[in-house]
Symmetry: C2
DNA sequence: TAATAGTTTGCAACTTTGTTGCAAATATTT
DNA sequence: AAATATTTGCAACAAAGTTGCAAACTATTA
């Protein structure tokens, strides 16, 4: 397991450090999206805030994790499961945020529908974020 | 015009003040969504930051404006054109953010498609945010 | 495996964004 | 016009994010 994580880092030309390993492990263990603060607490504040910021940024650039836009404007991150690469994300799935427990899920098998835009507009990315009550909260 | 604005405020049981009038006017004049900072600059910093925060919050609560989630996590606001009321928003249209000029549009006539969620999930709101190149930038 | 070169981390200091309490100013009601 | 209710601006604070740099660590090479 720890080896798999190191593999992913190496494949992305990142040196294998304790913080990166631990943070990437967290994403693999987690069933839902994580915010900066979640990572801080789940690592017992062992890493500096700056390190976490930089790690998340690096992972996003490498196509290891993706961001999820939210209505309340907190930044959330989740593992990319599609084939995302350096600078080219491809996470065309719907996201769901529970208004009750706050958990955010990647609905990997529900893909974002094609949206037909007015003439003159070109789309590079489409985010669909649904919110409501999740299966655990009803 | 200024009278129309005052009317809207009264209809929503808000006292008609200079800052509220001016800010609501800005939204009516603007063809795109506005961020807190846009309002600050377009009003020549005549109002305190706190006043702008509170005004935006009040307008959202009253269903006069709605927020737009963004991938880069800046908060954007735009006029509600549907029949939104106190605590009940109904802005089921797609939003478009231009990667080149940053302008954010409400695509009022493009409605959010129905998303079929897994069993156990109930949706209260669905945001669709597309990004790419807008008609002015290509 | 030890030395070196390259990369990442933590700290400090700072900026930007957002929040709260409260007195003064303004708007509404009588 | 006075009384009442609401809003505003200030100050102080809290939370979130950024940057430069020396020390620590990782990878490479000999
Ligand atoms: Mn996802
Ligand atoms: Mn809109
Ligand atoms: Zn839930
Ligand atoms: Zn544009």
């Amino acid at each position: 397991m720890k080896n798999d994580i190191a593999e992913i880092l190496k494949r992305n030309q990142l040196s294998v450090t304790e913080s990166r390993t631990k943070i990437l492990e967290l994403f693999h263990e987690s069933k839902s999206a994580l915010a900066h603060a979640d990572i801080e607490s789940k690592t017992d504040e062992s890493y500096d805030r700056v390190t976490i910021y930089r790690t998340l940024q690096t992972f996003v650039e490498k196509g290891i994790i993706h961001t999820i836009p939210t209505a309340d404007n907190s930044v959330l991150y989740a593992l990319c499961k599609d084939e995302c690469t350096q600078g080219k994300h491809n996470d065309n799935h719907v996201h769901f945020i529970c208004d009750s427990c706050g958990t955010t899920f990647c609905l990997d098998h529900i893909s974002v529908p094609e949206i037909i835009l007015p003439k003159g507009f070109t789309t590079h990315r489409t985010d669909v974020v649904a919110s409501g009550i999740c299966k655990n909260c009803r």
